[in-house]
């Protein structure tokens, strides 16, 4: 069950139509979906302090209710190596419309996957797993299942992907941690069922999967129109 604090947070986000990234990450973390070490810093000092605590290099991302597609406004800066560069990134982000701070997060690595959910007209909540990365909409290599998922569903989603061998180990690419991925998918499925009709769709994109862990790097939760 989601705490009332979290449901209130989601309900409060309805005025924008979507949940700000740091809040989305909190929501995921609270339901057992792994997220990176991150902080939502509201000032330059906080930003630098958070990065120092997390450890460089970090990724910095703008937080603004007016910026849903962060990369469209160069609102994502991966691989920031030190405080000097981070301060410059902060200054640039501060000029973006609706600026409400910066997400500072640890850098992740591994295979890029996309995980998503939507409330389908005919079938209700459904969950998607696909091969991620920049070509995600080119190859459209995805599998969809009706939620709630069972472990068996996750296994079959992996089998059904054309690129499944990328995930199970191929030519020097290490296999991803399938049990961790399954755990993450099942936790995400629970969250989707909890949120129910509150959401329109969720993108976890990218999700980084390595031999050790599966972690959501970015999350966008679109809320259903009210009424």
């Amino acid at each position: 069950m989601l705490s009332s604090e979290l449901t209130n947070m989601v309900d409060a986000a309805r005025k924008h139509g979507w949940v700000l990234e740091p809040e989305a990450l909190r929501l995921l973390a609270a339901t057992g979906v792994p997220v990176p070490r991150f902080a939502w810093a509201k000032s330059k000092a906080e930003t630098l302090a958070s990065a120092a605590a997390i450890g460089y290099p970090v990724v910095a991302k703008v937080v603004s209710p007016q910026v849903m597609h962060k990369s469209d406004v160069q609102g994502v800066q991966p691989g920031v190596p030190d405080g000097e560069r981070l301060a410059k990134v902060y200054d640039r982000f501060r000029g973006l419309p609706g600026f409400e701070g910066v997400v500072v997060a640890e850098m992740l690595s591994g295979h890029e996957l996309i995980v998503g959910a939507k409330v389908d007209f005919q079938f209700g909540p459904v969950i998607l797993l696909g091969i991620g990365g920049t070509a995600v909409e080119i190859y459209k290599d995805t599998a969809t299942r009706m939620a709630p998922l069972k472990a068996r569903d996750v296994e079959s989603m992996l089998t059904c992907l054309r690129g499944s061998r990328l995930l199970t180990g191929h030519r020097g690419f290490a296999a991803v941690n399938i049990p961790k991925l399954t755990e993450m998918m099942l936790a995400f499925s629970n969250l989707v069922m909890e949120l129910g009709d509150r959401i329109e769709s969720i993108d976890l994109n990218p999700v980084f999967c390595s031999p050790e862990r599966c972690t959501v790097a970015d999350a966008r939760i679109l809320l259903a129109p009210q009424g």
């Binding site: 005919q122 079938f123 459209k140 299942r145 009706m146 068996r152 089998t159």
Partner: protein, 455 residues
């Protein structure tokens, strides 16, 4: 709701019979039931009178006996009144043929009749549909009998949102020699929907395979449908239209763009072990196969042929579908070889496909089917039978069916569908072995069993 009066009526009434226009849909329906079916039928028209020497009743309530099924083929605006009469009369149910409801902007009228029926717990099919085809019992199609291709009684229950698709599919089923237990065109499905008929056909002892032509489900209805279908022991086959419609709304999320309506539909069906047919050919093949073998296989196919070319073509098709044609072990090859006649023992190729060559005889086929039928390396047999070679007799279909019945492993045959091989084909079909008219068809029949499980 009790659907028995709808699908097994002893008495019917047809509302809307015209005294002046014998091509009126109601007249076509009345005439065919009156002349050709063992069901008592009454014509109804508010004007009364005499129609073909029978009394025309002014309303349902005037009819002396009970009415199980009323067929309503009157103008849309008169449907509520006629439906009200049926309910007051205590009829068992109705088929509303009439159009002029939601499909032409009169959602209000459609909701009104649905509400009336719900209130009275009165089942009806339609509106805007052809209704029911129950082979050998009755039908409510307003299409003259001589224009229809009429499948025999059989084991496929077919439910279609489109009447046109249903009638045309009856042609395909008949060409395949596939019989129907019941076919229903549900039209606007104002009251009775796919899931209601899924529930009915699941309980219907004559139905072994339940097939649907679906354009779309209502809100969350798809969820209820797949959950019910997943729990049934009978195979469920679905042909979906509207696969390529692009969402018109601009989508702002990857998931919405990637998980389009059809993608979700196809994946969710597979998740629940429902067999999706991608076209009418697959639908026919899948229904044929699953009506004989309502079961699941992994898809390790043993191919038996008399022609190397056919074996190669079949192997390609199987591979494209994701079926395996595994190499056979030495033990199995030795067992096949031991059963072959002396003149082909050294020329037959016992790799998979097993090529018995054009010199083979009935006994060679029996030996190969028997040995492969018992081999654990394959879980299904695909037989490519070209009855041109002189060693093959017209008894081979029946003989191989008997061998197959001893091993129980699914056997699918390809035999060219021409009249002179009919006895060979019937030898298989009457003994519960499906026969395809093409290599592709035979491969699809195997594929049906592989898809018939949760993915």
């Amino acid at each position: 709701m009790n659907f028995a009066p709808l699908f097994k009526p002893g008495s019917m009434a047809v509302a809307g019979v015209s005294l002046s226009n014998d091509r009126h849909p109601a007249n076509v329906i009345y005439n065919k039931i009156h002349l050709r079916y063992p069901v008592k039928v009454y014509p109804v028209n508010p004007k009364g009178g005499i129609f073909k020497r029978d009394r025309v009743y002014r309303g349902m309530e005037e009819i002396p006996g009970p009415i199980d099924l009323a067929v309503i083929a009157v103008r849309a605006d008169l449907v509520p009144e006629t439906l009200g009469q049926c309910i007051r009369k205590g009829a068992g149910g109705a088929v509303i043929i009439s159009g002029g409801f939601a499909e032409s902007g009169r959602r209000d009228l459609q909701e009104r009749i649905a509400a009336m029926a719900r209130e009275a717990d009165f089942p009806f099919i339609g509106p805007n549909c052809l209704g029911i085809y129950a082979p050998g019992k009755f039908d409510t199609f307003f299409l003259p009998g001589e224009r229809l291709v009429r499948p025999n009684p059989g084991s496929v229950g077919f439910v279609s949102q489109s009447g046109g698709v249903l009638v045309d599919q009856m042609v395909k089923f008949t060409e395949q020699g596939l019989g129907l237990s019941l076919a229903v065109s549900i039209g606007n499905k104002a009251l009775i929907r796919e899931i209601d008929l899924l529930r009915y056909l699941a309980e219907d002892s004559a139905t072994k395979v339940i097939a649907f032509y679906v354009e779309g489900f209502g809100r969350n209805e798809g969820r209820a449908f797949v959950e019910l279908a997943a729990g049934l022991s009978k195979p469920v086959v679905v042909l979906k239209a509207g696969k390529t419609a692009e969402g018109s709304r601009a989508v702002s999320s990857h998931t919405a763009a990637l998980a389009g309506d059809y993608k979700v539909f196809a994946d969710v069906l597979a998740q629940h072990g429902i067999v999706e047919a991608r076209n009418e050919f697959e639908l026919t093949c899948f229904c044929e196969s699953l009506s004989h073998y309502p079961r699941t296989i992994d898809g390790k196919v043993g191919v038996i042929t008399v022609s190397g070319g056919h074996g190669a073509l079949a192997t390609d098709i199987c591979a494209d579908l994701g079926l395996q044609v595994p190499r056979l072990s030495e033990a199995v090859k030795a067992e096949i070889r031991a059963g072959l006649s002396a003149n082909i023992r050294d020329i037959a190729s016992l790799e998979n496909p097993v090529d018995l060559t054009g010199s083979s005889t009935d006994e060679d086929f029996e030996a190969a089917v028997s040995a492969l039928g018992r081999a654990s390396e394959v879980d299904c047999l695909l037989l490519l039978l070209l009855p041109y070679s002189p060693g093959i007799s017209s008894d081979l279909g029946a003989r191989l069916s008997y061998v197959h019945q001893q091993t129980g492993k699914p056997l699918v045959a390809y035999v060219p569908h021409v009249e002179k091989y009919r006895i060979l084909i019937e030898g298989f079909e009457l003994n519960n072995v499906p026969v395809a008219a093409s290599i592709d068809g035979a491969a699809f029949m195997v594929e049906a069993m592989r898809r018939c499980r949760p993915c």
